[in-house]
C-alpha cells in the first residue's frame, strides 16, 4: 500500500477516516518515508490526530517525517491561477479571483478542481515520498474525483482543459494513486461503502487500494447459556452489550469483501493516542 505516491482516504462521516489517514501517515514515516498529510476539507480531524493546532495552507512539520497542511479554497484558488494556469503575476488576479469565486459557487466542478488540485500539485512537485489525503466523506467524494473530467468537458480547449486532463490522468493512474475506503461494521456505513464500490466499478475514476474495517470488536468467549445464568450486574450487562454489538458487527462484516481490520480501541482519551495505536496495528498488517 505504501508504494503509491498519492493515497486518498475516504469513508462515511464518523467512521474514523481522519484517524486512519493519520495512522497510515505515522506508519509510513516510521518506515522512513517523507510524508505529506493533507486535510482536504478543513484539516480539523488531522490536526486532532497529530495532536497539533489548526493546520495552515503551507506545510508544517507535525511529527518526525510528517508534514501536514489543510486546503483552504481562497488560497487554493490563488495557487491554481498562478502556478497551474500560469496567470501572469502582473494580471489583476484579485479581480479575477473575485470573479472566479462567484463562479466557484455555481459552475460545476470549479471549487472541487481547485481543492483536489492541491494534493495533485504536491504529487507533481515530488517533494515527498507519499502524499496522504484525508479526503471528503463518501457523499462528496465523487464530485471531487470527477471534477477534472467534468471541467475538461465543460470548457473549450485551453490551458484549463489541458490542466484538467492532466489531473484526471494522475488520479486514474493506479501505479501512483489509490483510494483507501474506511468503514465501520455498521448498517449505514457498510451500505454506503457498498454503493461506492458499485459506483467505482461503473466509473473507475481512481484505483481502489483497499477497504479498511475500523472499530471491530473481538469475540468474547462467554457462551450464551452461561450468560443467561449470570446474576444481573455490570459483568452481565457489559457482556451482553459486547455480544450483541459483536454479532451485529459480524453481520455487516460478512457483507463486505475480506479487508484489513482495525480494532475498537477502548478508553483512549485523545485522538493522538488513537492514531498512534492504529499505527502500531498497521505495523503488523503491512
Amino acid at each position: 500500500m505504501l508504494e503509491r505516491k498519492l493515497i486518498f482516504v475516504s469513508g462515511k462521516g464518523g467512521v474514523g477516516k481522519s484517524a486512519v489517514a493519520a495512522s497510515l501517515a505515522i506508519v509510513a514515516a516510521r518506515r522512513g518515508l517523507r510524508v505529506l498529510a493533507i486535510g482536504m476539507v478543513d484539516g480539523l480531524g488531522l490536526a486532532e490526530h497529530f495532536a497539533t493546532e489548526k493546520l495552515a495552507y503551507a506545510p508544517r512539520g507535525v511529527r518526525p517525517g510528517i508534514d501536514a497542511l489543510a486546503v483552504y479554497r481562497e488560497e487554493a484558488l490563488d495557487e491554481y491561477l498562478r502556478l497551474q494556469l500560469h496567470v501572469p503575476r502582473a494580471a489583476p488576479t484579485k479581480v479575477l479571483t473575485r470573479a472566479l469565486n462567484v463562479l466557484a459557487e455555481t459552475a460545476p466542478g470549479i471549487r472541487e478542481i481547485v481543492t483536489i488540485g492541491k494534493p495533485i500539485y504536491e504529487l507533481w512537485k515530488g517533494g515527498y515520498d507519499l502524499v496522504l489525503v484525508d479526503a471528503p466523506p463518501l457523499g462528496q467524494l465523487f464530485s471531487y474525483l470527477r471534477a477534472p473530467s467534468a471541467i475538461a468537458d465543460l470548457v473549450p480547449a485551453g490551458p484549463i482543459q489541458k490542466q484538467a486532463n492532466h489531473m484526471r490522468d494522475s488520479i486514474a493512474d493506479a501505479t501512483t494513486t489509490s483510494l483507501v475506503l474506511v468503514t465501520t461494521p455498521e448498517e449505514l456505513p457498510v451500505l454506503e461503502t457498498m454503493e461506492t464500490l458499485d459506483r467505482l466499478d461503473v466509473e473507475p475514476v481512481v484505483g481502489l487500494e483497499t477497504l479498511v474495517v475500523n472499530r471491530l470488536l473481538e469475540p468474547l468467549e462467554v457462551p450464551k447459556n452461561v450468560l443467561a445464568t449470570l446474576p444481573a450486574g455490570p459483568h452481565s450487562a457489559a457482556a451482553h452489550h459486547h455480544l450483541a454489538t459483536h454479532s451485529q458487527q459480524q453481520r455487516w462484516l460478512d457483507a463486505l469483501p475480506p479487508s484489513p481490520q482495525l480494532p475498537y480501541l477502548f478508553g483512549l482519551h485523545t485522538a493522538g493516542e488513537v492514531a498512534e495505536q492504529l499505527g502500531d496495528v498497521w505495523d503488523e498488517i503491512i
Binding site: 462515511k12 462521516g13 464518523g14 474514523g16 481522519s18 480539523l44 480531524g45 486532532e48 491561477l81 494556469l85 496567470v87 494580471a91 489583476p92 479581480v95 479575477l96 473575485r98 470573479a99 472566479l100 469565486n101 462567484v102 463562479l103 459557487e105 455555481t106 459552475a107 460545476p108 471549487r111 464530485s143 465543460l154 470548457v155 473549450p156 480547449a157 485551453g158 490551458p159 484549463i160 482543459q161 449505514l188 456505513p189 468474547l220 468467549e221 462467554v222 457462551p223 452461561v226 445464568t229 449470570l230 446474576p231 450486574g233 455490570p234 459483568h235 452481565s236 450487562a237 457489559a238 457482556a239 452489550h241 459486547h242 450483541a244 477502548f266 478508553g267 483512549l268 482519551h269 485522538a271
Partner: protein
Amino acid sequence: MSTKVVVITGGGGVGKTTLSAALAVGAARRNLQTCVVTVDPAKRLADALGVETLGNHPTAVANQPGLWAAMLDVSASWEAMVHRHAAPEVAERLLADPFFRTLADRFPAAQSYAAGEQMAEHIESRRWDLLVVDTPPAGGGIDFYAAPGRMREFIGGRLLRWLTGASIPGRRAIYKVTARPALKLADTVLGGPLLEEVADFLMDLRSLHDGISHRAAAIELHLRRATPIVVTTAYPTPMREARRFFEDLPEKAGKSDTVVFNKQLPATWTDSAALRGAEIEAPIRTALRDNLTRWAAEVRRQHDIKQQFAARHELHMIEVPWAESAPTSVDALAGLLASAPELEEHLPA
C-alpha cells in the same frame, strides 16, 4: 393555531432522525397535533412509523393518532421556491439552466435553505401544535441555521452586485462596465465565453433577490424562536460538529443550554463490583472480568469527554441509553423516549 418548533441538529449517524420521531410520538401522545419533518434517510423513519412513503406533504401515521410525518424533497422545494420568487419566464429559464441545477446540488446553503422554506410553510399552515424538524446533516446541522443568511448574501451580495450592477437588470442586460475587463481576462484564461454564459444566469438569479431576502428574514425569525436540540454521540467527529453549533451560532439560533448524548453506556459499568456466581468456570470468569474492564475504561473516557464538553459550553447534559436495536414501531419509539425522561421535558406543555 400557534406552532411550537423543535429543531433537532447534529452530525450524521448520531440518531437525529430516530430521536425526532421519538419526540414526535411523545408529543402526539400528549394530545398535541404534531408533524415530524425529516430529511434523510427518510426510509428508516418511514419504517419506524409504519408509513409507506413520505413526501413534502404530511402523511398521517396510521398507528398514532395526532401524528403526521413529512419528508423534505429538496428538488421539489427548490423548484417551488423559484416559482414563488421569480417571474414566470425567468423561472422557466432558471429551471432549465444547467448552472442552476448545479447550484441546487452544490451550493451548500441551497439545500438547507430549501429545507428552511419548507419548515416555514409548515409553520405558517397553522395546522400543528408542534413541528419537529430533523435537519440535514451538512455541517453538523449548522448549515440549516446559516443557510438563509448565506443565500441572501449570495444572491444580493457584493460579488453579484459588482458583476451585474446595482439595480436589478432586465433580460440580457450587459455587465457593469467596470467588470468587463476582468471578465474578458477570465474568459481568456478559461478558454472561451464561459463567464459570459454564467453571467446571463447570474442576472436571472439576481432577480430573485427581493423575494428571497424577504423570505430568508422570515425563516431566520422562525429559527430564532424554535427550540434547538443538539444531538451527538461521545465520538470525536460528531462532537466536533456539536461544538460548532455552540461556538458558531450564538445569535442565529434559539438559546440552547442542553446537549443530548445518544447511545450512551451505563455509568454503573465503572464500578468494580464483585462477580458473584461461584459455579462460573475460571476462563469464563476471566473473560467476563476483562470485558468489563475494557468497557469500563470506555465508559470512563466517554464520561470524561462529555463532562469536559458540558463544562466548556456550560450545558446541561441529557443521556439517552444505548439500545440493542433501532426502534421499528411507534411503541418502540415511545419506549426510547421513556428511557430518557428529561428529553420529554423539552416538549412544550
